[in-house]
């Protein structure tokens, strides 16, 4: 076990059961909590840590102040974003585009308090053919900027037909608006695959899975969850098992086929190492590669920041989560990324739109 694993394990101990209405104090001590604060804050897990610690009465208020502050900021940010969701739907619907809301608000609403599960934008999914209409709708001048991340197609779920996913979707009320969210089977699969595609770097993503696993609707259709491309289903199943292994999520209502799926030995340590690495720069916060390459030693720094972890590489190469070494997949994924970068450079060389 390396130092990163140990720190990651500490984060995992702090977050065990933190998504529940009344989390308990089992395995949590104040020292762990204080040590983990520098890792919890930038990973978006501070609110959950505060919730568990204050519910369990573990630490004294001064120690909890940074966590409580982060929770407060997340809760306020959630209120700001939540107010914009109906406006985003209204703009797209005015152009005849029916979006699906996923991740972010769609999962944050399931937590006991706003602010426990932070999110930075509104993830809306539209049909590929609605790309132009969708872009145009969001580009319209309006009274407020809408922080929408518009996805054309279903990204992690593109082994499913949009129409089928739409048919299984649910409409929920938000303020005075009807908001369309993914059906529970599609959403759980989407969240599981999103977690794995990004190398499981945010602990809160694994908490999402744990929360959903423990609050499944009675009619949850596991066959629907499992349907689709084999490698993706395998990755999604491994993600659910990780929620159990690392965070103690209950698998009581999960079929035996998933419960018994053995995890390769490298998987849990990879996640914990990722969680324990305070220097990690997630996507969206890295300096662009093009900018890095202008500096001396930029290539080395860029490569270090972008070297795919074993999970990202396995998902990227559409491989199975088995016991074979991951290095070939990591090298392969690195080549694939370099190729994508080279292609995007040639696209960027085109004159900008006016």
């Amino acid at each position: 076990m390396g130092p990163g694993d140990g720190q990651g394990r500490r984060v995992a101990r702090v977050l065990r059961g933190a998504w529940r209405d009344c989390p308990d104090a089992e395995g949590l001590d104040a020292a762990d909590l204080v040590e983990a604060i520098p890792l919890l804050l930038p990973s978006g897990s501070a609110g959950l840590a505060w919730w568990r610690a204050q519910s369990a009465g573990v630490a004294q208020p001064p120690a909890l102040k940074p966590l409580h502050d982060a929770f407060g900021v997340h809760a306020l940010h959630a209120a700001i974003l939540e107010a914009k969701v109906p406006a985003a739907f209204a703009r797209l619907r005015a152009r005849g585009v029916e979006p699906l809301l996923g991740k972010g608000w769609a999962v944050a609403r399931l937590y006991p308090r706003p602010g426990l599960r932070p999110y930075g934008d509104i993830d809306l999914y539209v049909r590929r053919e609605d790309e132009h209409a969708g872009r145009a709708a969001l580009a319209e001048p309006g009274p407020e900027a809408l922080p929408v991340d518009l996805h054309y197609g279903l990204v992690e779920l593109d082994d499913r037909k949009f129409e089928d996913v739409l048919a299984r979707s649910r409409v929920v009320r938000l303020a005075d608006a009807d908001v369309r969210v993914f059906g529970p089977e599609d959403h759980l699969r989407l969240l599981a695959l999103h977690l794995m595609r990004h190398g499981a770097w945010r602990p809160v993503w694994l908490c999402d899975l744990a929360l959903i696993l423990e609050t499944l609707p009675p009619d949850f259709d596991w066959a629907c969850f499992m349907s689709g491309a084999g490698a993706r289903t395998d990755a999604a199943v491994c993600a659910l098992r990780l929620a159990h292994e690392i965070l103690g999520a209950s698998l009581e209502r999960v079929p035996a086929r998933i419960r018994r799926r053995p995890l390769p030995r490298w998987l849990v340590p990879t996640v914990l190492r990722q969680w324990g690495d305070g220097r990690f720069e997630p996507h969206g916060t890295r300096t662009p590669l093009a900018v890095e390459l202008r500096r001396p030693r930029g290539l080395l720094r860029a490569l270090r920041a972008r070297w795919p972890n074993a999970i990202e590489a396995t998902v990227g190469r559409r491989a199975r989560f088995d016991g074979f070494p991951r290095l070939p997949f990591q090298i392969g994924e690195c080549f694939a990324r370099t190729l994508r970068f080279a292609r995007s450079r040639s696209a960027l060389a085109a004159p900008p739109e006016r």
């Binding site: 501070a46 940010h77 209120a79 300096t287 662009p288």
Partner: protein
């Protein structure tokens, strides 16, 4: 007990414009969109703030706050909460705390009031929390050509922080995206 406030009405009014309010069971969170500051109001302070409608006197505010929190709220506590709310710019006009009666100093009077608890108006500053959700760094945003602007929130921390509350967007006819409100 009727005491004057700075505007002379004796009836403080809650500021409403430019605020985002998130009421929670244990506290009320307020974000000032103009000053980009967040505040956490403990239960009594939140109840006092909620009761400041510009019509109620301090006596009436105390009665209403007591009803809401389920325990007695003395007027001294209301004055202390009002002072803190005013400092946090959560009132239309800040209040001037009157001189205490009966020979006690203002300091002692405030100290006694503070011991009642639930009156804190805490400023929240969590620079690292803002980067927790997916965000785009200022450098990354400015490196994008205007047709690739993500609309994602800009990171407010790191080596080159963007102004708070900005998103990566196309601004005017600029070739590259900017972090703008």
């Amino acid at each position: 007990m009727s005491r004057p406030v700075k505007d002379g009405t004796g009836r403080p009014r809650q500021r409403r414009d430019g605020l985002v309010v998130q009421p929670l069971p244990e506290e009320t969170l307020v974000y000032d969109l103009e000053r980009h500051k967040a505040h956490c109001l403990e239960a009594v302070a939140a109840a006092v703030w909620e009761a400041c409608d510009g019509r109620r006197t301090v006596e009436e505010i105390a009665a209403r706050a007591a009803k809401r929190v389920g325990r007695r709220v003395p007027e001294e506590a209301v004055w202390l909460a009002l002072r803190r709310l005013g400092r946090a710019r959560l009132l239309e006009v800040p209040v001037a705390v009157p001189a205490p009666r009966g020979g006690t100093s203002r300091r002692e009077w405030m100290k006694t009031a503070a011991m009642l608890g639930g009156l804190s108006v805490l400023s929240i500053s969590a620079p690292t929390a803002a980067q927790a959700a997916t965000c785009v760094s200022l450098t990354a945003c400015q490196a994008l050509q205007n047709r690739f602007c993500t609309g994602a929130p800009c990171c407010t921390s790191g080596p080159n922080p963007a102004p708070p509350g900005t998103t990566c967007q196309k601004v005017g006819n600029q070739n590259n995206c900017s972090c703008a409100p």
